[in-house]
């Protein structure tokens, strides 16, 4: 499974071109299962649909480390039909509804092409802006086509990797999924790696929570994508709340709205960056959350750390990330796992709160 760089990019493209709205992660699950089949020690799908891949170390005493990246994405669910081929929909997760009008979508298992239309500007009443509440928007499939209530829909993916940049839908969190697949190429002597490709993160980290209860890891590392609000602001005020920045390396979490991350693990990741001279940034402890929100409170408590790839325009049809930030994220996590592998007692101490 040694992948060359173009293969790594191709896999990322394939993952971003998949549609997997929370609760219907089938397309990504199939890509993950196909990529890992035969390359790990154990591969299974848990009762909620998360994929759990195990790669065991060779030492006698080993720490159980859970890695988590979510397969699902924000999107739409079909909730009704007005007239043939014209569908009502509701939002799943924190989709940015300002982007909906005038977009192409794919509907249901068979990826039926549809469009979300808009009133022609010619016919907007004088002084009216054209802003439409999402409840009055419809997905049009064209007469003769139909969809089932409960079908999921998502923006039509248009992934493009060019000049060291990725333009794609659902970089959040396919870039984490791709990272996890990369990390599973290696064995860490004193670590049993439990890689969780989780479901339903965007609706409350439900998959990761259940998987953590099953695995009972000594510690968990979450790999996600976080917003880079690093552009001039929309009110031209000074941007002191950029969250993270493109090109500044992986974003390490100190805290977010659901989790204060384990201080020892945060320092461990930072020391790995220093040792390997990998640029990192600490994500501003503001909004948002990751799978850690579920994992940290599972069982009797699991120490967590999270690392994200920064990307602009989260939860919109097309986000932007940088390949160098991604590669530095992979390198940082490998280095962190190497350090963990050399100090097998670390996690035991972490669990005891010593």
């Amino acid at each position: 499974m040694m992948s060359t760089r173009p293969e790594r990019i191709l896999l990322l493209e394939q993952l971003c071109n998949a549609v997997a709205v929370s609760g219907d992660e089938r397309e990504v699950r199939q890509i993950v299962l196909a990529a890992l089949d035969g390359h790990v020690d154990d591969l299974s799908v848990d009762p909620l649909g998360s994929v759990i891949a195990v790669k065991r170390g060779t030492a006698r005493r080993r720490t159980r480390v859970m890695l988590s990246a979510h397969m699902d994405e924000v999107g739409l669910m079909i909730v009704g039909t007005d007239q043939p081929g014209s569908l009502r929909f509701e939002i799943v997760g924190g989709l940015d509804t300002r982007y909906l009008q005038g977009k192409r979508v794919l509907v249901g298992k068979h990826r039926l092409p549809g469009v979300i239309g808009a009133i022609p500007p010619h016919l907007l009443p004088e002084g009216e802006s054209g802003k439409v509440d999402h409840a009055s928007l419809r997905i049009e499939l064209g007469p003769g086509a139909s969809a089932e209530i409960g079908d999921r829909a998502a923006y039509e993916p248009r992934t493009r990797v060019v000049g060291g940049l990725v333009f794609a839908k659902s970089i959040d969190d396919r870039i984490g999924v791709a990272t996890l697949i990369e990390l599973l190429q290696h064995t860490y002597r004193a670590i049993d790696l439990y890689a969780v490709f989780s479901v339903q993160e965007e609706v409350g980290a439900r998959g990761a929570w259940a998987a953590a209860q099953r695995i009972d890891p000594g510690l968990a590392i979450v790999i996600d994508a976080t917003a880079a609000h690093d552009q001039p602001t929309d009110d031209d005020s000074e941007n002191t709340w950029y969250n993270s920045r493109l090109g500044f390396g992986p974003a390490v979490y100190a805290a977010d709205s659901r989790t204060i991350y384990d201080a020892r693990l945060v320092e461990l990741v930072r020391s790995a960056a220093v040792r390997r001279r990998i640029p990192i940034q600490t994500r501003q402890p503001t909004r948002g959350g990751t799978d850690a929100g579920g994992i940290q409170r599972a069982l009797s408590g699991i120490p967590c750390v999270a690392v994200s790839v920064p990307h602009r325009y989260p939860h919109s049809p097309i986000s932007i990330a940088r390949i160098d930030d991604w590669e530095n994220t992979i390198a940082l996590l490998e280095a962190s796992l190497r350090i963990l592998s050399r100090t097998p007692a670390a996690s035991t101490r972490a669990r005891r709160g010593v």
Binding site: R104, P113, G117, A118, R138, P143, G163, H229, P232
Partner: protein, 352 residues
């Protein structure tokens, strides 16, 4: 793939916002060259194709105009690496965020239309503030690189190939008015196996979305006896109901109002009924907001007619057209040309 879908696909392969149509004209020119007796370009970049009639000289002539330009965007500035854009023609900024684009600078630079981030706790700003668009193009490049490759005035095109929908529908950007260009092209093709006495000029006009400048100048150069514009109109659908809207798949609309000559309108209606071509009558109480406005007042005035193909979600990247409507429009144009008697002008009555 159906031949009309293929033709539309070819015509949609390039971007041609008003005043920058030459990439699309380059695609169309060889097609028309293969079908016409003479092809030339106007001083403003419109394409003229002459299909000679069989009548005795001096033959009367008909000009069929369809605009080849589309609405678009132009780079207007660089704010810390983000590009500001200004609209070309009637653009609704709300439908643009999230679309993939190409900036046609010193090289082609990919990007995406976006909204800038809002401070925590603030209500996120919409795509328009007051009347000013607040949309941006992000290329992911640093500000200095942006300055190196991109200048104010560069065209920004939406990077979205058309897609086929159910029941012979197609969705894409710039269907307004490549659908009309396709109808003219199909008509020229059909005329090569038909007999007609009038000379016919097919004209792909530039700058309709801004000034009707292409139609006005080509009509002046060609001085036809009758003028006809083929454009798109508003398609009916969810949230789009009322007298402005027409069924997609219901055939072309025959416009009626001060911009259209009643005698010419009557002939189109007669031909459509005789050939059993589905159509609707579109009331246009004042301005048709089309090339027909310029055609009518060219020279000392011309009898003018306007046919429209219904398009859903006009002026968005997800316009929807029924390919059948393009075909029916071509069939009507052909039947109309064939119906023109050498003395039609004198038969065309004002008060019937």
């Amino acid at each position: 793939m159906n031949a009309t879908a293929q033709l539309m696909g070819e015509l949609l392969a390039a971007e041609g916002p008003s005043g920058r149509e030459s990439e699309v004209v380059k695609i169309l020119e060889p097609m028309w060259r293969a079908l016409a007796n003479r092809v030339e370009r106007s001083r403003l970049g419109s394409l003229h194709a002459l299909k000679r009639g069989e009548g005795r000289e001096p033959r009367p002539s008909l000009m069929m105009a369809a605009h080849i330009d589309s609405i678009g965007m132009m780079v207007s500035g660089n704010v810390g690496g983000l590009l500001t854009v200004s609209p070309i023609g009637s653009v609704n900024p709300y439908v643009l965020p999230g679309l993939p684009v190409i900036v046609h600078g010193r090289r082609e630079v990919p990007g995406v239309v976006t909204l800038r981030p809002s401070p925590p706790g603030a209500v996120p700003k919409q795509a328009v503030a007051g009347t000013a668009p607040r949309i941006f193009v992000d290329t992911g490049l640093a500000s200095q690189q942006v300055s190196r490759f991109i200048r104010v005035g560069d065209i920004v095109s939406i990077d979205l190939p058309p897609v086929g929908l159910e029941s012979g529908h197609m969705s894409g950007r710039a269907l307004d008015n490549r659908a009309g260009i396709a109808a003219l092209t199909l008509c020229l093709e059909q005329l090569s196996t038909e007999r007609h006495s009038w000379d016919v000029w097919a004209v792909a006009t530039t700058q309709e979305e801004t000034t009707y400048g292409g139609a006005a100048t080509s009509a002046y150069a060609l001085r036809p006896d009758l003028a006809l514009a083929v454009d798109t109109t508003f398609g009916k659908g969810a949230g789009a109901d009322g007298w402005h809207y027409f069924e997609v798949g219901g055939g072309p609309t025959l416009c009626v109002g001060p911009n259209m000559h009643p005698g010419l309108h009557a002939r189109f209606r007669q031909v459509a009924e005789a050939q059993q071509i589905p159509h609707s009558i579109e009331p246009v109480p004042a301005s048709s907001e089309s090339d027909a406005m310029a055609l009518q007042v060219t020279g000392d005035g011309m009898p003018t007619m306007l046919l429209c193909i219904p398009v859903r979600n006009m002026h968005t990247a997800v316009e929807v057209v029924a390919l059948r409507d393009v075909e029916e429009t071509a069939r009507l144009l052909t039947a109309f040309v064939v119906s023109l008697e050498p003395d039609f002008l004198s038969r065309m009555a004002w008060d019937t």
